[in-house]
């Protein structure tokens, strides 16, 4: 059985699909931890936020007040791990009264159809 790493230099494309509200348990920080480790191992990592996960993009989060890690701060640290591609569902944003310009980090807004294409362009999709 050959090792993939010996045979090819392919970079696996990993998409982290976040759908949970940022403080629904600790699932979102846990899922982000896995994505950060993947990026440290040089996988190409992107993140897609939809449904209540878009609330993680609100600026001015202070989750230390409830004894938790602040998801907004975790997102701000993504470029340190070379995770630059953060996508958000346009419908999820607008139906929650949020706007791409108001988000804690720059995000690329995608339509549902564009999100369908995004899945197809990745090798692995992980969840929160």
């Amino acid at each position: 059985m050959h090792h993939v790493r010996e045979l090819t230099m392919r970079e696996l494309k990993l998409l982290l699909l976040l759908r949970r509200a940022p403080y629904d348990g600790v699932y979102v920080p846990e899922a982000l931890d896995a994505a950060l480790v993947a990026a440290a191992f040089e996988l190409k990592v992107s993140i897609l936020l939809l449904d209540d996960a878009v609330f993680g993009l609100l600026p001015d989060q202070r989750a230390d007040l409830i004894g938790r890690r602040t998801v907004g701060k975790l997102l701000l640290a993504l470029p340190d791990y070379e995770i630059e591609r953060v996508y958000v569902c346009g419908d999820s944003l607008s139906s929650r009264g949020l706007h791409a310009g108001d988000t804690v980090i720059p995000v690329q807004v995608l339509s549902a159809g564009e999100q369908a294409e995004l899945f197809g362009s990745h090798d692995i999709v992980w969840n929160d």
Binding site: M1, H3, V4, R5, L12, L14, V26, Y27, E30, A31, D33, A34, V37, A38, F41, L43, D123, I124, V125, W126, N127, D128
Partner: protein, 146 residues
């Protein structure tokens, strides 16, 4: 669009693939662990490769040795252990997910001065790097959720 699927008798050999399975579901709070176990059995039965099952988020709770299953409920703990023993796949539990859910092996129980170690046999506590290793070296990755 529906593709073509082989019927239940011998399908044409599509070639065996290596899989990584991720389990996010705890035995009592969802069905994902049971589905993953049945999937894993069919996987190895069909000649595919399964090096590692990675238990993350609430899936880490599958590694609790102290769980007692009522009679009418499938003992997925025994199921996973049997699969690991018979097919040699690793049951890997993420250390961070395990600790926060109270699943400790002897080393961690000592380190954190907890009264008991409760990681079931055949489950190993590992870092997230092992998940990355697994997906890099396999052809397909599937996550089982609630």
């Amino acid at each position: 669009m529906l593709g073509t699927l082989g019927k239940t008798q011998a399908s044409p050999d599509l070639g065996s693939m290596n899989f990584t399975l991720i389990v996010h579901s705890a035995p009592h709070s969802g069905q994902g662990s049971h589905t993953a176990l049945d999937f894993a059995r069919s996987l190895v039965g069909g000649g595919h490769g399964l090096q590692r099952v990675f238990f993350y988020l609430d899936g880490a709770e599958n590694a609790l040795s102290t769980r007692v299953f009522p009679q009418e409920e499938t003992d997925v703990l025994v199921g996973w252990q049997t699969l690991a023993r018979e097919h040699g796949c690793e049951l890997a539990v993420c250390i961070a997910a395990a600790l926060r859910r109270g699943v400790l092996n002897h080393e961690e129980a000592d380190r954190y001065e907890r009264r008991a170690a409760n990681t079931a046999d055949h489950f190993v506590i590992v870092g997230l790097g092992q998940l990355i290793d697994a997906v890099v070296e396999s052809d397909q990755c599937i996550t089982f959720v609630n």
